[in-house]
């Protein structure tokens, strides 16, 4: 039977060997549940955590109110704070008590209205003290804007009613395109696709293939009639399948669980994700071939692919904020290009020009990495 196949045309021999190898690799992968934990369970955990657990949005932040002026003006002013959906004010009698609550993390800010507020407001130069706990600077900055906004609205209302010289007020009408409610989940969930593709592509594959180098089972396969190309394709096939399952899970979770819109073309999403998965797999293969040691491979994969995809791709940290030198490094990473296009495809719509240029960049990486991987494999065998 195998003789008959070997004598057949070279092309069919290629497919027969490839199918046999893929079956072997798939079985080997399914045998160990720890692989599937990283490949399938961890993505589910990440999707649920990012979807439900993490939020950068400030809602109902506890704020201590220390009102030392009991006048009617102040009561009106403070009603602006009480009405805000972002703030949850609690009345506190003394600054000492409020300070203690701030340090203990029971409140995020103190708003203190001094005893001479009303009299100063008539003369001009009225002040409100805002004390923030700077340890969580992100929340602190958001709170500052909310408190200022609420107070400004309240004073404007008072000024309107107070008559006097009407000077006219500049008002803002803001709209946030692509994410009208400003929900951080909407950009975290699409970004997760990048993280999970990197996880399966680079981290899992480099670790498992490095283990085969370490144990010498890969060399054993090289002496069989199997060609290196077939071997590489067969090794990568199970990861491609897992990566595609993860992609499907991300898309379904985004739509069904988190109501994240998919405004762009689904075909384009799958296409660029597949290209990025190939890039990650090649990175993983390259790392495993260079290190040939599973501990080293896992650490290098974390450091060279996963951490940068988490930190420098624009996933959570906006690239506009980072220094130029680091931004140049970020622009070199394939994850950054994938992140830009996947967020646009989910939230903004299909910009075919952007899809084409980013796909071209990813294809460029595939060519370069294939070349590098072939060189490492050949050199190591020689």
């Amino acid at each position: 039977m195998s003789d008959a196949r070997n004598t057949s045309a070279d092309g069919s021999g290629f497919t027969t060997r490839l199918v046999a190898l893929v079956r072997k690799e798939t079985r080997q992968m399914l045998r160990d549940r720890s692989n599937l934990m990283v490949g399938l369970l961890l993505p589910v955990v990440l999707i649920l955590l990012f979807g439900y657990g993490l939020s950068f949005d400030v809602r109902d932040a506890p704020v201590a109110l220390v009102i030392q002026d009991r006048s009617e003006t102040v009561r009106e002013l403070v009603s602006g704070l009480r009405g805000s959906p972002y703030l949850d004010p609690v009345d506190v009698q003394t600054m000492e008590e409020a300070s203690r609550m701030l340090v203990d993390g029971k409140v995020d800010a103190i708003v203190q209205i001094p005893g001479d507020f009303a009299s100063r407001q008539v003369k001009g130069g009225a002040q409100v003290q805002l004390v923030l706990n700077g340890v969580d600077s992100t929340t602190a900055q958001t709170l500052e804007a909310y408190v200022q906004g609420a107070l400004a609205t309240a004073t404007a209302r008072q000024a309107d009613r107070g008559g006097g010289v009407a000077t006219g007020t500049v008002t803002l009408m803001t709209r946030t395109w692509f994410n009208e409610e400003g929900n951080s989940r909407w950009y975290l969930v699409p970004g997760l696709v990048v993280l999970i593709m990197t996880l399966v592509g680079a981290f899992l594959s480099s670790l498992l293939i490095a283990r085969e180098w370490e144990r010498g089972t890969l060399e054993a396969l090289f002496v069989t009639p199997v060609r290196p190309l077939e071997l590489v394709l067969a090794k990568l096939a199970p990861y491609i399948i897992i990566g595609l399952i993860d992609l499907a899970m991300c898309i379904i979770a985004a739509v069904v669980l988190f109501a994240v819109p998919i405004r762009g073309s689904l075909v384009a999403i799958v296409l660029v994700s597949f290209l990025y998965l190939l890039v990650s797999l090649l990175v993983g293969l390259l790392i495993s071939g260079v290190t040939r040691n599973q501990f080293a491979a896992s650490q290098v994969a974390l450091l060279a692919s996963f951490m940068p995809a988490l930190m420098l791709s624009g996933f959570v940290f906006d690239l506009r904020n980072i220094p130029l030198a680091v931004r140049i490094v970020a622009e070199i990473l394939p994850a950054t290009h994938f992140m830009g296009v996947i967020k646009t495809l989910f939230l903004a719509g299909t910009d075919w020009g952007m899809v084409a240029s980013n796909s071209a960049i990813l294809l460029g990486y595939i060519v370069v990495l294939t070349f590098l991987t072939r060189r490492t494999l050949r050199k190591r065998l020689g």
Partner: protein, 382 residues
């Protein structure tokens, strides 16, 4: 004879010393195994160094640069004052001055600007008449956190403009931010890294130390030595704890000397907190290693655990923003309390009394995981 026994150590002390001496043998062997390989030595310390720089420069949430476009249809004095004030902040840079509204969408779509300001033709007229002059602002919401920060900057500029127009009778909000006077996100993130960055490898090393012997079949030999499981446990756990503390020291020195974030609290208390945190992390690692059959599983299990532990630590997003179920889950997360201790000691200068409560969950995790793993060593032989 009498005099000799008088000089000899009391029997209890002697047996304790003997016990410790045996542990010291195992400790030496473990440290040698860890540092013998030059590649390992690099892998143990280079990542802490590289990741600290990566996070220090990449993990920045402060919006410092907002490219924007303006469409001024009013061309009045108030409109130019608003634009001048935006340009004067140093945060907003005008990328384009538009002539019609159809130019806005392409600029935002291609991410050339983060926001577009439209000042309608009747803006100055309405303001002069004492009415409301409405300014329309459109933001790119693909990163809604960035859009939110930009919106609060614009609103601060408009409030300042309104206050100036009304003759300074508005309410001034005087801000003081404790522990982080300029509200820099780097201060929020980097001290927490002293605990976070060391956790990945301490847990992993602890998990690998047993799994390696299991894979190589030498663990059974260790079990038949005169050493008790407790001694094996201590000898295996200590090197990981030492490596964790060394890595924390590297991170701390970079945070202190390179990023120049001042330390307010006592270094001794900080190290005491880190020690307890590391013991808890190593306890989890040892328990994992008792479950893992080989190194690969140990690595994959640790990684599956580390991601949720990091995300649910309060490092990036406040624990209060999480759903209640997850908030309870964070009580078994050593990193939550490690981050809390480091932040409070490093930034707030808190004393032992103020942070004592954070040690309870850490020691509880250690008190459960360490005996559990010692028991598992004996009872789970593959």
């Amino acid at each position: 004879m009498d005099r000799e026994s008088g000089r000899a150590l009391p029997p209890i002390l002697a047996s304790v010393l003997g016990w410790l001496g045996e542990v010291a043998f195992l400790f030496r062997k473990e440290v040698l195994a860890l540092f013998k390989d030059p590649a390992n030595r690099i892998i143990l310390f280079a990542p802490a160094f590289i990741q600290t720089l990566l996070f220090g420069y990449g993990a920045i949430l402060d919006l410092q640069h907002v490219p924007y476009a303006v469409l001024d249809q009013s061309r009045g004095q108030a409109a130019s004052e608003l634009i001048a004030r935006l340009d004067g902040t140093g945060v907003f840079t005008r990328q384009a001055t538009l002539v019609n509204a159809s130019q806005i969408a392409p600029l935002i779509d291609r991410q050339q600007v983060l926001m577009a300001v439209t000042i309608p033709a009747d803006f100055d007229r309405k303001l002069a008449g004492g009415g409301n002059g409405e300014v329309q602002v459109v933001f790119d919401g693909r990163n809604s956190t960035t859009a939110g920060s930009a919106a609060s900057y614009v609103s601060a500029v408009v409030q300042a403009l309104n206050a100036a127009r009304s003759g300074g009778k508005g309410v001034a909000v005087v801000r003081r931010a404790w522990f982080n006077p300029n509200l820099e996100s780097r201060w929020q993130i980097m001290p927490a890294m002293i605990a976070t960055l060391s956790m990945l490898q301490t847990m992993l090393l602890a998990a690998l130390s047993v799994a390696r012997e299991r894979e190589q079949g030498t663990f059974d030999q260790l079990l038949v030595t005169p050493m008790t499981p407790l001694q094996i446990l201590v000898g295996k756990a200590l090197p990981s704890i030492v490596v964790g503390l060394l890595q924390s020291t590297i991170v701390m020195l970079i945070v202190l000397l390179w990023f120049r974030i001042p330390m307010s609290g006592s270094p001794f208390l900080l190290y005491f907190g880190l020690l307890c945190f590391n013991i808890a992390a190593v306890g989890i690692g040892m328990t994992l290693s008792a479950f893992a059959l080989n190194m690969q599983q140990a690595m994959l299990y640790s990684f599956v655990l580390i991601m949720p532990l990091t995300l649910l630590s309060g490092l990036l997003t406040p624990i209060r923003n999480m759903p209640l179920v997850l908030q309870y889950a964070t009580y078994v997360n050593p990193l939550r309390f490690g981050v809390a201790i480091v932040r409070r000691v490093y930034l707030e200068g808190a004393g032992l009394g103020e942070i004592a409560i954070n040690f309870v969950p850490l020691l509880a995790v250690a008190a459960v995981t360490l005996p559990l793993s010692a028991w598992l060593f004996r009872h789970r032989l593959s």
